[in-house]
Amino acid sequence: MKQRVVVVNQPGASGAIGKKNAWEAPRDGYTWTAGAPKQLGTYKLLGQWDTWIDDWQLYNTVTNVPLVSVNPNSPYKTMADFVAAMKAGTVTIATAGAGSSGHAAAEALKAAVGGNYKHVTYDGGNPAVVATVAGEAEATTQLASEQAAMVRGKRLRPLAVLSNQALEIEGYGKIPPVTDFITTKLPILSTTFGIFLPKQDTPPEVIETLNRIWATKIANNAKLRNYALEKGALFTPAAGQSARDKVWPEIQADAWSFQTAGRTKMSPEALNIPKP
C-alpha cells in the first residue's frame, strides 16, 4: 500500500500500555496496534482497562500455540516430571506478565493438574524466555514462536506443546502435544495475532482499504505463510467479523480460566461470555 510503517514497541502490563496509547492516539487511521486481539476481551474482566473486543476492528494474521519448556539444567526431564512439580507447587514459571498468553497457559495447566506455581513476570516474551535459558526461572509457557531459536540451539528443553497436535520446529523435530500426558481437557490456548484499530471515529475509508488488503493481498501471501511455517505457527488470515469469530473461543477460554483462578474483578457472564 506504499505507506511507511513506524513500529513503536511499548512493552509492559501484557501489552495494555501500548494498546492504550493507540486508543488515545488521534483516530486518523494511521495508528494501529499489533498484538493478540483476545486480550481486548479480558482487560475489562481483570480490572486493568475498560475496553472491549467490539470496540476494535480486527485483522488476524497467524496463530501461535504455547510451549512448555524448561532450563536444560532443571530436574524436569519429561512433561510427567513437570506435572508432578506443579502438583507439589515448587516450579517457577516465567511469562510476559499477567494476562499474557504465557500466563494463560500456566493458569490452564494449573487448573488441569492442580497444585500451584511461582509466577515471575518479564517485560515481554523474549526476556521471559532468556530468563529461563539463564536459569532465573525454571520453566516458561510462552509461545513456541518465541522459544523456537532457543529450542533449536538446545538451550531450552521443550516438554510439551499446549495443543491437541504435535508441533514441529525446524532444526529440532516434533514436540509431543500435552494431550499425551494429561487426560483432563485443556481449554483453547492458541493465540491469534494480528493488528487492530479502534472502530469508533476511525475514518470508514481506512477500514475499507484494510478489508480489501486482507481479502486480496494477505490471504495468499507466500512470505507470511513461510514465516508462519518456519516459526511453528499457523497461518490464519481473517478480517472484521470473521476475525472476531475466530478470536471469540480464545476469549471464552481465557475469561473462564482467569475466573477459575480468582483473578477477575467481575464475572465473565456479566460481559456475556458463555462458559466454553
Partner: protein, 180 residues
C-alpha cells in the same frame, strides 16, 4: 582545590545550613507521606498476585531511604556550627576569587516570563503570536541596563519575529512536530 571548595562551603555556612534544615524537614515529611501512601496502595491480593510484587513495594522502600537521608541531613544541619572537622579548613582559602555576580531578581524575572508564556499565552493565542510576544518581552526585559535601549528593543523585535516564524515553520513542516 578541595580545601578551597570546603572553605567556600563553610564561609556561607549559616545561610546554607538554614536552607539545608528547611529542605531536610520538607524532604522527610514528603517521604513519610509517600511511604504511608505506598503502604496503603492495593496489594492486588484478590487478583492472585504474589504479595512480593505489590505495586507499593518499591516506592515505599525508596521513600524510606529518602526518610533516612532526610533525617541525616536534618541531624547534620542541627549540629553545632563549629564542628571540629569544619574549623580546620576555614582559615585557608579566605582570599579565594569572589563568587560570580549572581542576582536573584534576574532569575525570578526569567521564571515569571517563562511561566506566563507557557501557562498563560500558549493555548489562548496562536503559537506564532504567543511565541513572538514572549521572545520580545524576554529580550526587552533584560535589555534595560544596556547602553542603547532603543537598539536593544529593535533587536528584540527582530529576534521575536525570526524565532516565532522559524520555529513554527521548521517544526511543523520539517520535523512534523505538533505545536501547542
Amino acid at each position: 582545590m578541595l580545601c578551597a571548595a570546603c572553605a567556600a562551603v563553610t564561609l556561607h555556612m549559616p545561610a546554607q545550613r538554614r536552607t539545608d534544615l528547611w529542605f531536610a524537614v520538607v524532604l522527610t515529611a514528603f517521604s513519610l507521606v509517600v511511604a504511608v501512601e505506598s503502604w496503603r496502595m492495593p496489594r492486588l491480593a484478590e487478583l492472585g498476585v504474589n504479595p512480593m510484587s505489590a505495586p507499593g513495594l518499591t516506592p515505599g522502600l525508596l521513600a524510606l531511604v529518602l526518610v533516612v537521608l532526610g533525617i541525616a541531613l536534618l541531624w547534620r544541619s542541627l549540629r553545632a556550627p563549629t564542628a571540629p572537622d569544619d574549623t580546620a579548613t576555614v582559615v585557608e582559602g579566605a582570599a579565594d576569587d569572589p563568587p560570580a555576580r549572581a542576582t536573584w531578581p534576574r532569575a525570578l524575572l526569567a521564571l515569571l516570563l517563562c511561566l506566563v508564556y507557557a501557562l498563560g499565552l500558549l493555548g489562548r493565542l496562536p503559537f506564532m503570536w504567543a511565541t513572538g510576544l514572549f521572545v520580545f518581552a524576554f529580550i526587552a526585559a533584560f535589555s534595560f541596563d544596556r547602553a542603547r535601549p532603543m537598539r536593544a528593543l529593535g533587536g528584540a523585535l527582530l529576534m521575536a519575529v525570526a524565532v516565532a516564524a522559524s520555529v513554527s515553520l521548521l517544526f511543523e513542516q520539517l520535523f512534523l512536530v505538533r505545536l501547542p
